[in-house]
């Protein structure tokens, strides 16, 4: 047997695709872009555990079982540290997939330049989004881009540097993304502007936040879904909604394909509640009387009835569980989408940014807030209704108005995993938790620890110096 034939015998011919020959054609580039979403939608991240974690932190929820320590507000125990480590991994896996695309798209031989720009913009949008999640929960993190993605040791960047990348990526995205996303669930330029407006709010660049939000409102691309009765809210959150006029950027899920459903609802429900056939862990719960947020929540607000149902399991007769993301036909996981950015969010960003940028509430800002509020009472969002509208006169100070925005956002985004970060951004987290739950939030509870799987192997990070306080 000749040497050549031996050589051939030992060559490997896997029936799979090698990275070197891929990312050339549009369909290949799109398959690479699609892979950026997979880690985000994972059950260890925004597929379930991320929202579960953050909702246990919220003023209107209590955690149960292994999540109980979260609403002690004294930092994380080992179980929860490993949960957030898992989230870190997923965000960075998504970032890696985005970096690969940022690197490969310019080299794609069979893709037109115009398409390259919008593909690149999508990759950068998603990279920014991942860093935005990281920076809000961990502050500074190692900054990995297409230029240093293969380096093992990368130092922890300051939060400001992370934000700088987020802003520059999103700015690229808003100028290069199309008017409508590549697919339902892929970002449009308006999605980039919406995220950017929230990023600017975090950075205190209120004028910029205002401008971005205003541009989205002015585009006329979005509108609030009209609601007449409680059940109509299903048109926003229900499992059968493919898309709506309110959708700016959602993570999309499907119940009909195994592994592609949203797992988050199982943490909300009680088994055999009828709302969710796969069962339930009732990991977070509340109390309609003992919790002040719920106690003070206007029962005429359709959102209250939509959100809460009574379920006792030994903690008293007024225990309630959340049913916002109900899917009565779910088989293994839910068909509901994760509404990461809804038009209602954008309207409330706008209201807040207007107030902050102008050092006081504006009529337009109040109108946008009232649109969200009216809808929640079954009214036409576009038509002023004195029976439910807030009057600007009653909230004329910045503090009063921002408090109103904060409360409205709490009702509107209940169970969406946004509450804790809002309170943190507004700097009122300790005050609100003290007020509602009577607990002093420990400083270490405000940030998550950098995982051991990072600093054990990334020699540019010194756990003694670079770890978040308290860990």
């Amino acid at each position: 047997m000749g040497v050549a034939s031996c050589k051939k015998t030992l060559e490997e011919h896997p029936e799979s695709i090698a990275a070197e020959n891929f990312y050339k054609k549009p369909a290949e580039v799109e398959a690479g872009l699609n892979a950026i979403y997979t880690p985000l939608r994972d059950g260890g991240g925004l597929g379930a555990l991320y929202q579960t974690q953050l909702e246990c932190y919220a003023d209107y929820f209590y955690g149960r079982g292994s999540h109980a320590v979260l609403n002690a507000y004294q930092g994380l125990d080992n179980t929860n540290i490993s949960r957030v480590s898992g989230m870190w991994n997923l965000f960075y896996l998504s970032i890696r997939n985005a970096n690969i695309m940022v690197q490969k798209i310019p080299l794609a031989s069979s893709v037109a330049d115009a398409d390259k720009a919008r593909y690149l913009a999508e990759a950068k949008f998603l990279r920014a989004l991942n860093y935005f999640y990281l920076v809000r929960n961990w502050a500074g993190v190692p900054l990995r881009t297409e230029t240093n993605m293969d380096s093992i040791n990368v130092k922890r960047s300051a939060a400001a540097d992370v934000y700088a990348l987020i802003v520059s990526d999103l700015q690229f995205a808003e100028s290069n993304l199309p008017d409508a996303g590549r697919l339902v669930g892929a970002p449009s330029k308006w999605a980039a502007k919406t995220v950017l407006s929230e990023v600017y709010l975090w950075l205190g660049r209120n004028g910029d936040a205002d401008a971005e939000a205003k541009a989205v409102v002015g585009s006329g691309k979005f509108s609030l879904v009209k609601v007449g009765a409680v059940s109509d809210l299903d048109k926003l959150y229900g499992p059968d909604v493919v898309s709506s006029t309110e959708e700016i950027f959602y993570l999309k899920f499907s119940r009909t394909t195994p592994g592609q459903g949203w797992q988050y609802p199982i943490y909300a429900f009680y088994p055999n509640s009828g709302y969710y056939p796969p069962g339930g862990y009732y990991t977070f719960y509340s109390d309609s009387v003992k919790n002040k947020v719920l106690l003070n929540w206007d029962r005429r607000d359709l959102r209250y009835t939509y959100n809460w149902y009574s379920q006792t399991f030994g903690l008293g007769a007024t225990t309630v569980l959340n049913r916002k993301f109900v899917d009565r036909q779910a088989v293994t996981a839910a068909g509901n989408d994760y509404p990461m950015y809804r038009y209602a969010d954008l309207l409330l960003f706008y209201a807040e940014a207007e107030c902050r940028a102008n050092n006081g509430p504006t009529a337009d800002g109040m109108e946008k807030l009232n649109m969200v509020h009216r809808r929640a009472y079954g009214k036409d969002p576009g038509v002023a209704d004195p029976t439910v509208d807030f009057a600007l006169a009653d909230y004329s100070s910045s503090d009063a108005f921002l408090d109103l925005v904060q409360r409205e956002r709490g009702y509107e985004d209940c169970s969406e995993g946004k509450r804790w970060l809002d309170l943190k951004r507004m700097g009122i987290v300790k005050q609100v938790i003290q007020n509602i739950k009577g607990i002093t939030v420990a400083d270490k509870h405000l940030l998550w620890p950098i995982p051991t799987t990072e600093y054990n192997y990334n020699k540019a990070i010194d756990p003694a110096k670079d770890q978040n306080p308290g860990y």
Binding site: E12, S16, A18, T79, V154, G185, T256, P271, G335
Partner: protein
């Protein structure tokens, strides 16, 4: 020359030695016959042949003769013996004096005939000196130089018995023939064993390496679902551990310790010359002819890149010429759980959780009235609802025979085992045939074929937490609850109490509402053409196919208590391995030199494809896995493809001088498709020397040392630790949703591909084989040092890279050890007692890891704990347990951990070594005691000094979940009145850690088998159609001495080929004990 009873079962025709010229001078008083015979042998060159029985019955000899003829000397020597003698060629055969003829009326004699014939060995060479005798008669003769013999005047329908040392005794019925021709086959069971080694065979006395043999009787002595299980405790240096007790459950085998971190640590199985990929579950114990375990590098280097973990050579039975033999073995066993864990009763459970409620400041869960009612009614015993006594049945039938040209063996086997967990079983059916035919003196063809059907119902021991799987559900389900509701439906447990685990599932759901079946059809087939163009040269060209088609069917019924809408999945796998081997062997003796040269070229490939489908949401359970397309939500089908190929050149030279000095040199060069370009090829050399000291004149005459051989060897072997394609930059595909539609994704996996090459193991071995007192005491001892380098390390990357790990060849692991095997025939004669023992010490150390980076075993999540247990760290034994040390309780009854770095906090930096799963030594002890037809066999086996991590007890710290716990915890937990307690206070806010609390001594001594057999005296019944008949009763695992508190220390939940999670017991299918009754007979 001393021969065993195997040769002389018979009387031999007396041939007068008068007239032989040799003169002998002897002057001995009351000397042992052995001594006298020795002196005669030295003076005359004649050799004595006698049975052991003779030595026991013989009287001392007194003889004073000078220059007397041999026959005169012999006459004197035998004058006061009950034995007499005869001379055949140069042999002096000792036999019993003829008894007075029986009183029975003699049958009318048939007209006598003269018979002549030729006796050859397997290779067709003439055998000189084979004994040919008439069965039940007095005539016998021995074959001459050309293997021929003549017997005159014997009965026409006589049966001839032909025997020769080291070969199987054959019986041939004449049926009127006057000429016969017969080939004797080597009998590996005889004392003068032939040992099967890689690509050849050697006489045991010529062995230069370290090879253990396991006899077929040991493999079939008690029923096992895997022949490898039967090796446990039988051979030095071999540790067999079951991963769980499930029928057909997997096992881990380690030969001389653990070498590899990521690669397999399982030995290579070579079945009838075919290097088999995987564990040979398809074999029936009854088909085994012999098992050889190659341990040192000189023996295994011929298997090169696949030998590093040792090689187990399994030879299946083949036919032999002569009378057609029928062997039937059958056994029936009743298995039962080895023990039940003592769990809390209903009343205790209620009291315990009320105590938790009180401690945690919530209202009691149970009223006093309820507690009282629990004390009256029986508690639910979930263990007995799940486990039961279960039967096991083995039937094995072999028919073998042949003539001088063609030999065959056919067998059929059935192995049926029901598990001690209900609704689980393992069934194996096999059909097997072997055929060997001599086309001419030059050409031989042989073929063997094994067909196996495996069929199994699994009960998953899923090792999940808080009662979510069958085993933890069985242990944790509240004893206060009945399994069924009054309407007959199963009770839902996770809402039964406000404080109960939200994942607990009624174990009967898993037992009766979920089916998980596997079946596989395996074909294992070999054919070979052997050419002997000249006398000393043999060319063997062989081809083999290993093929397996397997399918698993999983169906979870529509079940409200688990919200199951009915879900089905089917997985199929098709595996084919093709082998071609071309081996040339040349053997030549000249003078005192003996030389044997083997060279060859082999090719093997292995292709696996899989296909699977699933569906969720069915209208009826009737469909099971029969209609995936009717699922409300059909799953996405999946498939995969994998192939590897291995090309090898091999060579070996065996040389011996004067039967005293032996040398072996071997070499193999392997090319594997799995490695990076440029690193595909590697060389594996070895060398060994042995010195037969007992053949030296100065030891030859020793009365104490009858056999002594020193061996030393060195060699390099390899391990193909990586999976195919691991060095390539592959993208994996997946799906994501946009809108409501599936869209394809492509991205690299989280493993960064690296440039990889072989793992190599260098091994030194020194050994001694010795026999004392005429080999009544036999000893083999070996010391070895093994160093495995270029170990493939899983290198953890910072998780911010997106890649979590990569692989690099950087690690080093060392194993060194000592193995001693002793065997002794304590009594021979009417009472026969043979005792054999073995003990193996292995010390294992991780020498080098990538950048001194620790490697953690996988994280285990118990609900309340989430951490790893095993650690690989430089300087430490493999997989040492790593965790926190407890130092008692706080004043409140919480567990206190040692703050080892004194920083005032309990962090991962306070972890330390808390146990070692590697045994200090393992041992086996067997005893066979025979008297008349009775035979008592006891087999004991054990390990000493290994720790077991009893993670079953993790639930003892998980007190907010309403899990049932042990009575021990009920009785011995912390209360203000009992602060020196075994368990902490009962509180749901208790925080636990992976700590020394769960480390238990996993040493055990087990009576693995005890058997009483009775061999019916069928030969005295003169039935003709029945050769042997044995009835036996035996018990397996009846006695286990251990301090371990859970079901069984011989469990390794996460064990497997490449696992470095070792010694952990976590909700695993329990092991069984059994009673077996059976029959073994031959016709």
């Amino acid at each position: 020359m001393k021969l065993t009873a195997a040769l002389l079962v018979c009387t031999i025709l007396q041939v007068n030695a008068r007239g032989f010229a040799q003169k002998v001078s002897l002057s001995e008083r009351n000397a042992s016959p052995e001594k006298v015979f020795n002196l005669i042998e030295k003076q005359t060159g004649y050799k004595f042949v006698y049975t052991e029985t003779f030595l026991q019955k013989a009287n001392p000899i007194t003889v004073h003769l000078q220059n007397a003829p041999l026959d005169q000397v012999l006459t004197v020597c035998f004058s006061n013996q009950v034995y007499t003698w005869s001379v055949l060629n140069k042999w002096i055969v000792v036999k019993e004096k003829p008894q007075p003829p029986p009183v029975a009326t003699p049958e009318p004699p048939l007209p006598p005939v003269d018979v002549k014939g030729v006796i050859r060995d397997e290779k067709g060479n003439a055998i000189q000196g084979a004994t040919v005798m008439v069965k039940g008669g007095s005539q016998s003769t021995a074959t001459t130089l050309d293997g021929s013999f003549v017997l005159k005047g014997i009965s026409k329908d006589a049966v001839l018995v032909i025997s020769f040392t080291g070969y199987r005794t054959e019986e041939v019925s004449l049926h009127g023939r006057s000429e016969i021709s017969l080939s004797l086959s080597i009998n590996p069971r005889s004392l003068n064993e032939i040992v099967v080694i890689g690509y050849g065979m050697v006489r045991k006395r010529d062995l230069t390496g370290s090879v253990s043999q396991v006899k077929p009787a040991e493999v079939t002595s008690y029923p096992t679902n895997n022949i490898v299980n039967a090796l446990q405790g039988r051979a030095t240096g071999v540790v067999v551990q079951q991963n769980n007790g499930a029928p057909g459950g997997s096992i881990s085998v380690r030969i001389r310790g653990t070498n590899s971190i990521l690669g397999g640590n399982e030995p290579l199985y070579v079945i009838d010359g075919f290097p088999y990929s995987g564990n040979p579950v398809f074999l029936q114990n009854g088909d085994i002819e012999s098992i050889e375990i190659l341990k040192d590098a000189s023996s295994i280097a011929i298997y090169g890149s696949r030998g590093a973990n040792g090689v187990i050579i399994i030879t299946t039975r083949s036919g032999r010429s002569g009378k057609t033999l029928v062997d039937l073995e059958t056994g029936y066993s009743v298995q039962s759980p080895m023990k039940y864990i003592k769990l809390m009763s209903g009343q205790q459970y209620a009291q315990f959780y009320n105590e938790q409620a009180t401690n945690d400041g919530v209202a009691p869960y149970f009223t006093q009235q309820q507690i009282d009612s629990f004390s009256k009614g029986p508690s639910t015993d979930w263990q007995r609802l799940v486990m039961h006594s279960a039967p096991m049945l083995t039937i094995h039938l072999t028919v073998s025979g042949g003539n001088d040209k063609t030999r065959f063996s056919l067998s059929a086997g059935v192995f049926r085992q029901d598990g001690i967990i209900r609704n689980s079983d393992y069934n194996r059916y096999t059909l097997r045939g072997t055929l060997s035919h001599d086309i001419s003196k030059v050409f031989n063809v042989s073929y063997n074929m094994y067909l196996t059907r495996l069929d199994s119902r699994h009960q998953n021991s899923g090792s999940s937490n808080r009662g979510a799987d069958l085993i933890s559900g069985m242990l944790m389900a509240p004893p206060t609850l009945t399994p069924y509701l009054p309407d007959g439906s199963l009770r839902r447990l996770n809402t039964a109490y406000s404080f109960i685990s939200n994942v607990i599932v009624n174990p009967l759901v898993n037992l009766y509402r979920v089916s998980d079946n596997g079946r596989s059809d395996q074909v294992f087939s070999n054919a070979a053409l052997t050419i002997r163009p000249i006398k000393d040269l043999s060319i063997r060209i062989s081809g083999g196919i290993q093929n397996e088609n397997s399918r698993s069917d999983y169906y979870a019924n529509i079940e409200p208590t688990t919200n199951s809408p009915g879900s089905a999945s089917i997985g199929t796998a098709q595996t084919t391995s093709l082998l071609n081997e071309n081996v040339v062997t040349y053997s030549k003796s000249f003078g005192d030199h003996r030389l044997s040269v083997t060279g060859g070229f082999t090719y093997q490939d292995y292709v696996t494809t899989t296909l699977n489908g699933s569906g969720t949401g069915f209208l009826s359970d009737v469909i099971q896995t029969g209609g995936l397309s009717s699922a409300a939500t059909p799953g996405i089908p999946g498939s995969s493809y994998q192939k590897w190929a291995l090309l090898s050149w091999l060579g070996r030279i065996n040389y011996s001088y004067a039967d005293k000095y032996l040398a072996t040199v071997s070499y193999r060069r392997d090319g594997s498709s799995r490695y990076s370009q440029g690193d595909k090829w590697s060389n594996f050399p070895s060398a060994a020397l042995a010195w037969h000291m007992s053949s030296e004149p100065w030891l030859k005459s020793s009365n104490v040392v009858s056999d002594l051989k020193m061996r030393v060897s060195y060699g390099a072997t390899g391990s193909t630790a990586v999976n195919p394609y691991q060095t390539l930059n592959q993208l994996s595909s997946g799906y994501t949703i946009f809108g409501d539609a599936l869209n394809t994704t492509y991205a690299p996996s989280t493993v960064l591909p690296g440039r990889l090459k072989w793992e190599t193991t260098d091994e030194w071995d020194a050994g001694v084989d010795a026999g004392f007192l005429n080999n009544r005491l036999r000893l083999t001892a070996d010391v070895y040092v093994k160093k495995t380098k270029n170990l493939l390390n899983r290198v953890t990357l910072p998780s911010s890279m997106g890649y979590l790990t990569t692989y690099q060849n950087v690690g080093e692991v060392q194993n060194k050890g000592l193995e001693i095997g002793v065997e002794s025939d304590i009594f021979k004669g009417p009472v026969k007692w043979t005792v054999a023992g073995n003990i193996s010490f292995n010390r294992n150390k991780v020498v080098k890891l990538y950048q001194h980076q620790d490697i953690y075993g996988g994280t285990i999540y118990t609900g309340s704990l989430s951490d790893f247990v095993n650690l690989l760290r430089e300087g430490q034994p493999f997989g040492v347990f790593y965790g926190y040390k407890e130092i008692g309780y706080t004043s409140k009854g919480d567990i206190q951990y040692e703050d080892r770095n004194k920083d005032g906090k309990i962090t991962a930096d306070d972890k330390t070594y808390i146990g070692n799963p590697n045994p200090r030594f393992t041992y086996g002890l067997s005893s066979v005691l025979g008297y008349k037809g009775f035979e008592l066999t006891v087999f004991i086996q054990g390990t000493q000094g290994n720790d077991t991590y009893d993670l079953n007890m993790a639930s003892s710290l998980d007190l907010g979940m309403g899990l049932n716990l042990t009575q021990d915890q009920f009785n011995h937990h912390w209360t203000p009145a009992n602060t020196n307690a075994k368990y902490p206070r009962v509180s749901r806010s208790l925080s636990g850690n992976i700590s020394n609390r769960f480390v238990e001594d996993g040493s055990y001594l087990r009576c693995r088998n005890i058997q009483l057999a009775y061999n019916l005296p069928v030969s005295s019944w003169r039935l003709g159609w029945c050769r042997s008949l044995q009835l036996y009763a035996s018990g397996q695992n009846l006695i286990t001495l251990t301090k371990y508190s859970w079901y069984d220390p011989d469990i390794n939940t996460y064990g497997g080929s490449s696992s470095y999670m070792q010694g952990i017991d976590y909700y695993t299918y329990p092991t069984y004990k059994s009673m077996t009754f059976g029959i073994r007979c031959g016709f």
